[in-house]
């Protein structure tokens, strides 16, 4: 298990370095920061003065090495626009985004696993059909439509819920639901299918024959075995959400998160912020994947034993 963890770690570091390099060069393909940072309507002298001051005239390679060096001082460079350390800017934004992500994942698990199990057990009754109709609907409605609809109903008409920022627990309700909508729909379907695969297996019949109560059979023998599939789906979804999923939702709810920061810095070509923001997200995705990898090993004794051997 330890060597497996070590290998996972090394793979993480390598992946991260490749991403660092790609991010650095890819962000610069979208245009020269000079054209965006310096602004419009300026004489050539003034422009040159600012270009020198912001160090925008350095060759790309020297910028790359400076970028790598900036990892060592913990500041990760200065924002072109705000002129303060990038780490400080990104750190302000990470926690609100993480909070939103956690509450969305929490809600998803809370809702979709029971629903998926129910849909599998009562697959032939109206309950199963109702759950599946909901799941497909949820899958078909994009999160920004759901968000706008909720804003219209619960804030604009009913005035029950606030729309701006992340001040109180009430602020979390709409963004969390909007973000989880698609996830719940997807995970419900996957849980149902995984459970269906397991429910027909011989060991389920054996468990029942042993006289175990039905809920133990379903949860311990059924869900535990369906867990592998469910885990991998959650991993993919959470990683996807961390990477890009919340950009639009953050804009709608004026959520001071990292998605909003990435979009703004991309539009303004604030490369130091953009590249560190992308890296933070990449790191989050890598960590989430690694955690899921380790969770596999924990959930599936077969995998654990293969790795040992």
């Amino acid at each position: 298990m330890l060597s497996y963890a070590l290998r996972t770690l090394i793979r993480m570091v390598l992946t991260f370095f490749v991403i660092v390099t790609i991010v650095f060069f890819a962000t610069r393909l979208s245009g020269n920061a000079i054209d965006f940072v310096i602004g419009e309507g300026m004489t050539s002298d003034d422009r040159d003065l600012l270009i020198t001051y912001y160090e925008l005239d350095r060759p790309v390679l020297s910028q790359y090495f400076a970028f790598l060096r900036s990892f060592t001082d913990g500041q990760f460079g200065l924002s072109f626009i705000e002129r303060r350390p990038v780490a400080e800017i990104v750190m302000e934004r990470i926690w609100p985004s993480t909070q939103l992500l956690l509450s969305a994942v929490g809600l998803t698990l809370l809702v979709s696993i029971p629903l998926g199990i129910a849909a599998a057990i009562w697959r032939k009754s109206w309950i199963g059909s109702a759950v599946m109709v909901m799941a497909f609907l949820g899958y078909a409605v994009p999160n920004f439509v759901l968000a706008t609809l909720m804003v219209l109903v619960f804030s604009y008409w009913l005035n029950w819920l606030p729309v701006v920022g992340n001040g109180t627990a009430l602020h979390f309700i709409m963004p969390t639901v909007a973000l989880s909508g698609g996830l719940i729909a997807a995970l419900t379907r996957f849980t149902r299918n995984a459970m269906l695969d397991v429910l027909g297996q011989d060991f389920m019949r054996t468990a029942r024959a042993k006289g175990l109560p039905e809920h133990t059979v379903i949860v311990k023998h059924g869900l535990r075995n369906a867990g592998i599939t469910i885990l991998s789906v959650i991993g993919l979804q959470v990683a996807g959400l961390a990477a890009s999923g919340s950009v639009v939702i953050e804009a709608i709810f004026a959520w001071p998160g990292i998605g909003d920061l990435l979009v703004t810095s991309a539009l303004r070509r604030d490369y130091p912020v953009l590249q560190f923001g992308v890296l933070t997200v990449a790191l989050a995705v890598i960590v989430i994947n690694a955690v899921i990898d380790l969770a596999y090993a924990w959930a599936d004794p077969r995998l654990r034993h293969t790795l040992k051997g």
Binding site: D35, T43, V151, L152, V163, V164, A254
Partner: protein, 517 residues
């Protein structure tokens, strides 16, 4: 029971009284930094007036030019090129420092003798005639100019020469006795001034929180606290107003006005902002070198129709590059720009226009209605036989030699034609510097008379001559003054004051009040 009712009513009254002292503003944009010296952006202008003062103040309740004492109580010329100012006694900065001549010398010389590149740039386009400021005694300073200055008060009322504390700024980074570039960078994240509100919290791009500054030298601020919160989505801003999360919201597009007005708790205020959306034409592009082509492109545009269609007729279409705010120098009698499709066709024929494509560049979203206007303009060109095409790009193309035409804005940085046309179209100014406008000795001579004549009539005469030059060889067409709207809850009384530069969120005494119900 009566007592219970009374005490509940009392509690409610106290609560609403407390609420009335605090407001939240939902803003489409919040600044990334706050330094009045280096900033001249429309986003930044919202914020400075609440927290900073200039030496000479202005009565913003009127379009007329009326100077009033601010941090200086008296000012007079001691010789034609030197002004002496007496400073107000007992003024303190938000950090408790007492303001004196040293702070004024520091603040002004950081612009007049700028060394920090962002200040150099700002100072060159409007303050280049100012040589330096010297301390006479603790409450007296002298400001020297290079040539006799007709716009003394105007240029001492600029946002860029608001007063900041010397010791505080120097002490922000490095050696507290020496001024370093990093001090100015640090200041722009932790600004301190003398105005009625101190900035108690600033999260760049997200939030500016003002709190009443009790030691303010003038009338007490009406609000205990004002938070300007970034709410990028228009729909969310309007919803925040309905839920009561915000009491005022900015940047309401014209098509949203009727929706808001239909709600009995909300209302809107608006004004034609002192700023022009303009079309610029590259005089050095091979296809546009002949002035007749550019005249035709300009004459083909029916700006009144654009106004009706895009702004519900609420924008203002000018006959020349002039604004009411200029006072004596407002010159609506000049007819520099007009709509005349017949003449456009004739000029195109005369110039031998070969039907080649003429592009109009626009950013997809930067200017309200910018892209729609671009599409309408190319359609209007088609009517006179010009083969136009809208080119959508995020990048500023104004300095690219291949740029043919595009949209831009000419804001009024201060209430004088020098503050708008004069900054943008000066000899060696930004337009010429970007290579899309040429001036010659003749233009420079007229411009000098316009800039430095002591006599208003002479300045007006020169400005008329400049406009004639622009008409004959046009690099620009002002389209309209856009109509900008704010929405608020009915119990809030606020409106942009006519004497300000664009977009100022003025919360000083007399600018904002609440219905007492």
């Amino acid at each position: 029971m009566l007592r219970l009712l009374l005490s509940t009513a009392l509690a409610a009254g106290v609560a609403s009284g407390a609420c009335a002292q605090e407001i939240t503003v939902g803003a489409a944009n919040v600044s990334s930094y706050l330094d009045p010296g280096r900033d001249h952006s429309n986003v930044g202008s919202q914020f400075y007036y609440n927290s900073f003062d200039t030496l000479i103040g202005k009565n913003h309740d009127t379009l007329d030019t009326e100077w009033i004492p601010a941090l200086a109580t008296k000012w007079e010329l001691v010789d034609p090129k030197t002004m002496e100012l007496k400073l107000r006694d007992g003024v303190t900065f938000h950090n408790g420092e007492v303001m004196n001549a040293d702070d004024v010398v520091f603040s002004l010389n950081r612009m007049y003798q700028a060394d920090f590149p962002p200040y150099v740039v700002r100072s060159r386009d409007r303050l280049s005639n100012f040589v330096k400021v010297e301390k006479v005694d603790d409450l007296t300073v002298r400001i020297m100019v290079e040539r006799e200055e007709p716009l003394w008060e105007t240029l001492l009322n600029l946002q860029q020469v608001m007063i900041i504390p010397e010791d505080y700024t120097k002490g922000l980074t490095g050696d507290p006795k020496v001024v370093e570039h990093d001090d100015f960078e640090a200041f722009s994240l932790a600004p301190v001034g003398t105005g009625p509100y101190r900035v108690s919290e600033f999260v760049p791009g997200e939030r500016v929180v003002y709190e009443r500054f009790d030691d303010f030298w003038g009338d007490k601020a009406p609000l205990a606290k004002a938070t300007v919160q970034h709410i990028p989505e228009t729909a969310s801003r309007v919803t925040a107003l309905k839920t009561g999360e915000a009491q005022i919201v900015t940047n309401i597009a014209p098509d949203q006005l009727s929706l808001i007005e239909s709600d009995q708790n909300l209302r809107t205020v608006g004004s034609a902002t002192p700023l022009f959306h303009v079309m610029i034409m590259n005089v050095n592009h091979p296809k546009l070198r002949d002035p007749r082509i550019r005249q035709a492109l300009s004459l083909a545009i029916d700006r009144d129709t654009l106004n009706e269609a895009l702004w519900l007729g609420k924008a203002v279409v000018p006959s020349t590059h002039t604004l009411k705010e200029y006072g004596d120098l407002y010159m609506p009698e000049l007819k520099t720009f007009e709509y005349n499709p017949e003449e456009a066709r004739a000029l195109l024929k005369e110039a031998g226009y070969d039907g080649s494509e003429i592009t109009f560049d626009t950013h997809p979203t930067y200017y309200t209605n910018g892209m729609l206007a671009a599409q309408a303009i190319t359609e209007m060109w088609k009517e006179v036989g010009v083969n136009g095409r809208v080119n959508i790009a995020e990048k500023w193309s104004g300095r690219a030699p291949e740029m043919m035409t595009r949209n831009w804005s000419n804001p009024m940085y201060f209430a004088d034609p020098f503050g708008s046309f004069g900054v943008m179209w000066a000899p060696n100014g930004p337009s010429e510097g970007e290579g899309r406008f040429n001036t010659d000795a003749g233009y420079a001579e007229i411009w000098e008379r316009f800039r430095f004549s002591k006599d208003v009539a002479a300045r007006k005469l020169a400005y008329g001559e400049l406009m004639e030059r622009i008409k004959q060889d046009p690099p620009v067409l002002p389209l309209y003054r856009p109509f900008e709207s704010w929405a608020m809850r009915k119990d809030v009384t606020w409106a942009p004051k006519p004497g300000h530069i664009p977009y100022v969120l003025d919360f000083r005494a007399g600018a904002i009040s609440f219905a007492s119900n």
